[in-house]
């Protein structure tokens, strides 16, 4: 659609590559909530030997893969209303308990797609003004999870940076993002300050700098 203004290709990770890079940071025993988009690519990249409990906000701890064709159960869906399966030893709770876990800080990581992330870790991911507003559990997840990892393309389809000094889209939460995984880089948010920790293979730090509107510190040690 916007081919004319599309950014020049600079290498970096595919969407699956972003998911795989992030999955490598998941630790054994983590309880993890995955949003839609790139986060849904993560399960197949979780390293062997790492057992992660996937949480669905509608009350499932221990999501399995999508239900095989013909075995869909209308009483067992994920937060996107897709028929799913359970792992052995999964637990079901009601929605208040599901969010008690989230808000109470018992979720290790929530991985969310993002429209924008600001220099101090503000997140905008729920609403594009003029479109249809819906929030779901996003604001609870970013307020409650111990870690909020945003995953996204580094720039939007028009080539505009998505890591910005201040979010221009409505906020999901203030200062909540702890890491950003993009096709080009991995940032951590440390003491309210974005820190570039990694460039994707073959991506030069200068390329990241010119495609990032927010100021950040480099710590590529």
């Amino acid at each position: 659609m916007t081919q004319a203004t599309a950014p020049v290709a600079v290498g970096g990770r595919s969407r699956d590559g972003i998911a795989a890079r992030l999955a490598a940071d998941l630790k054994d025993g983590y309880v993890v909530n995955l949003g839609v988009g790139i986060p849904l690519l993560i399960p197949k990249h979780i390293p062997a030997g790492v057992e992660v409990i996937l949480h669905a906000e509608n009350g499932v701890f221990g999501l399995g893969p999508p239900a095989p064709a013909g075995q869909e159960d209308p009483d067992l869906t994920d937060a996107g209303k897709q028929p799913v399966t359970l792992i052995t030893g999964a637990a079901i709770v009601d929605s208040a308990m599901s969010f008690a876990v989230v808000r109470g800080g018992h979720l290790d990581v929530t991985v969310l797609g993002a429209l924008q992330v600001s220099a101090r870790g503000d997140l905008a991911n729920w609403y594009v003004p003029g479109k249809n507003p819906a929030v779901g559990g996003a604001m609870d997840l970013v307020a409650g999870a111990r870690e909020v990892w945003a995953t996204m393309e580094h720039v939007d389809r028009a080539g505009r940076p998505k890591i910005v000094p201040e979010c221009t889209f409505p906020l999901t939460g203030c200062g909540v993002v702890t890491r950003v995984y993009t096709d080009l880089a991995v940032f951590h948010v440390i003491d309210g300050q974005l820190v570039l920790k990694e460039c994707a293979p073959g991506v030069d730090p200068d390329v990241i700098r010119e495609r990032t509107a927010a100021s950040y510190v480099e710590d590529l040690g």
């Binding site: 159960d73 209308p74 209303k81 399966t85 052995t88 208040a96 989230v102 929030v135 307020a143």
Partner: protein, 252 residues
């Protein structure tokens, strides 16, 4: 003897007047009380304030209430259905958009006698600062906004004050129910159902299976009958579920 079983949804729901605030269970079509929602439509009730997590993706259930113009205000986290927004932007329905966890907690709080609580969810966003349009007028301008939330810091962090929701009525769905109103849900169809039931001053439950008192063990009841006033059998048209799959050893 306590016998909360009723046979005719139209008779049971007849006391619900137009204009009521009704909490409804379900997450999409999963665990949604379609038998009761259909009866409410057939009774031609209008001007309803419906509290439900989402509208769903078609014109069944909450979607039917919407399509028939019966909803005055929707309190939800994820309306989804595009036609809902057409009605919202046209000024024909109000939308109180609430973070999902806050909505669940507000329903529970209302049922639990907690008039208000503080939560970090939504602090610093347009769902708390009084700028989110509750409704539009016929010319497409914002007619009213959701009220600004009271703010307060706890542990150096901003929180907002949210109020418990006490609904006039609740409509919920369960897998099994006995004559005392004890309910047991199945898998993720549980979701908002226990909370909507708690929130209702008067609660109707449709169940897929009517069971004898005692068939549900005391430790196997998900919601005690004290929260439920009437129990009806779900219509046979409601989808029946096959056995769900457990993937042995799968971790994702």
């Amino acid at each position: 003897m306590i016998d909360k079983f009723r046979t005719d949804p139209a008779v049971a729901l007849a006391p619900i007047p137009s204009g009521s605030c009704i909490a409804v269970g379900g997450f999409g079509s999963s665990g949604r009380p379609d038998t009761l929602l259909d009866a409410l439509c057939d009774l031609d009730r209008r001007d309803l304030h419906v509290v439900v997590n989402n509208v769903g993706s078609d014109f069944t259930g909450i979607g039917r209430l919407l399509a028939e113009g019966r909803i005055r205000r929707l309190t939800a986290s994820f309306p989804v259905l595009p036609e809902f927004y057409d009605v919202y932007f046209a000024g024909n329905v109000e939308l109180e958009l609430i973070p999902q966890g806050t909505l669940a907690e507000r329903l529970r709080a209302g049922g639990a006698g907690i008039p208000a609580f503080y939560t970090p969810s939504g602090a610093g966003t347009m769902l708390a600062d009084g700028t989110f349009p509750l409704g539009y007028d016929a010319s497409g301008d914002v007619a009213a906004c959701m009220p600004e939330r009271e703010r307060r810091e706890f542990g150096g962090r901003e929180h907002v004050l949210e109020y418990g929701i006490v609904a006039d009525f609740a409509l919920v769905k369960a897998c099994q129910g006995d004559r005392r109103g004890n309910l047991r849900f199945r898998l993720s169809a549980r979701n908002f159902n226990p909370l909507a039931a708690m929130s209702g001053r008067y609660t109707f439950a449709e169940v897929e299976h009517v069971v004898e008192a005692g068939e549900l063990g005391p430790d196997d009841i998900h919601l005690p009958g004290v929260f439920v006033d009437e129990v009806l059998l779900a219509s046979a048209e409601s989808p029946r579920q096959p056995a769900y799959s457990v993937i042995p050893g799968a971790t994702s």
